[in-house]
């Protein structure tokens, strides 16, 4: 089971969790990650974010990521749902769910999907503060987080 969706509407993460579990019934291990908007950045308080996407390519890249994650970790299921447009403080931005026979694969698949998403899926975030929207810079820590998976593949 491979699912990838972008949506302007808020995510219902409880429902997404229950659906994934139902659709991968009896897999054994199920891991879900939810990323949400923090109400601050390093400069102070923010009032929500806005996510720009590349219609057509974002959907394709997200689906390709879900499919490659499923294959790489031999998962029973991988689902990724990402918000686009305006997202308020504390709301979920992204939800990743994985299911596998063993917990190590399910955890690794969810971590990999998040690390790879932050490098390969066309989505751009800006943070609102007062009347200003500031584009968020990509993080060196995110590049590094993704690179560990490339090393581990070479090790195999």
């Amino acid at each position: 089971m491979v699912v990838a969706t972008i949506q302007f509407e808020p995510l219902n993460i409880g429902q997404l969790q229950a659906q994934l579990f139902e659709q991968t019934k009896g897999a054994g291990a199920c891991v879900c990650f939810t990323g949400s908007v923090r109400d601050y950045n390093k400069h102070g308080a923010i009032e929500g974010i806005e996510l720009e996407h590349y219609p057509g390519m974002t959907e394709k890249a997200l689906l390709a990521l879900a499919a490659s994650t499923q294959k790489k970790f031999n998962c029973d299921g991988v689902a990724i749902v990402h918000r686009v447009g305006k997202v308020l403080n504390h709301e979920p931005i992204v939800w990743v769910g994985t299911a596998s026979a063993h917990r190590e694969a399910a955890f690794n698949a969810a971590m990999y999907a998040m690390d790879a998403l932050k490098q390969s899926v066309p989505l751009w975030k800006r943070e609102w503060s007062g009347q200003h929207a500031t584009w968020v810079d990509s993080k060196a820590a995110d590049v590094k987080a993704f690179e560990r998976w490339q090393t581990s593949v070479e090790d195999e």
Partner: protein, 83 residues
């Protein structure tokens, strides 16, 4: 000649001042040569394309030395920040 559409996103779009631009370019041009040609067209494009740019051809991220073909959809954008 290859006729392509060049799309911009996020900061690159804002600096370029447009969402997309049609471009006619010699056959066998690369994405990097398109970036060069646009940067010489005007100051906005020059500023927009000055930093670290990710390039996509027909909605797939590719390297700067990838060649384009007639009808291609090209995109220039900053490093992604989803998640």
């Amino acid at each position: 000649m290859a006729r392509v559409t060049v799309k911009f996103f996020a900061q690159v779009r804002e600096l370029a001042g447009v969402e997309e631009v049609p471009l006619s370019i010699e056959d066998n041009a690369t994405l990097d040569s398109i970036r060069q040609v646009l940067s010489e067209q005007n100051e906005s494009f020059k500023n927009a394309l000055a930093g670290t740019i990710v390039m996509a051809r027909n909605q797939t991220i590719v390297k700067a030395d990838t060649k384009v073909a007639d009808g291609d959809e090209i995109a220039f954008f900053p490093p992604v920040t989803g998640g």
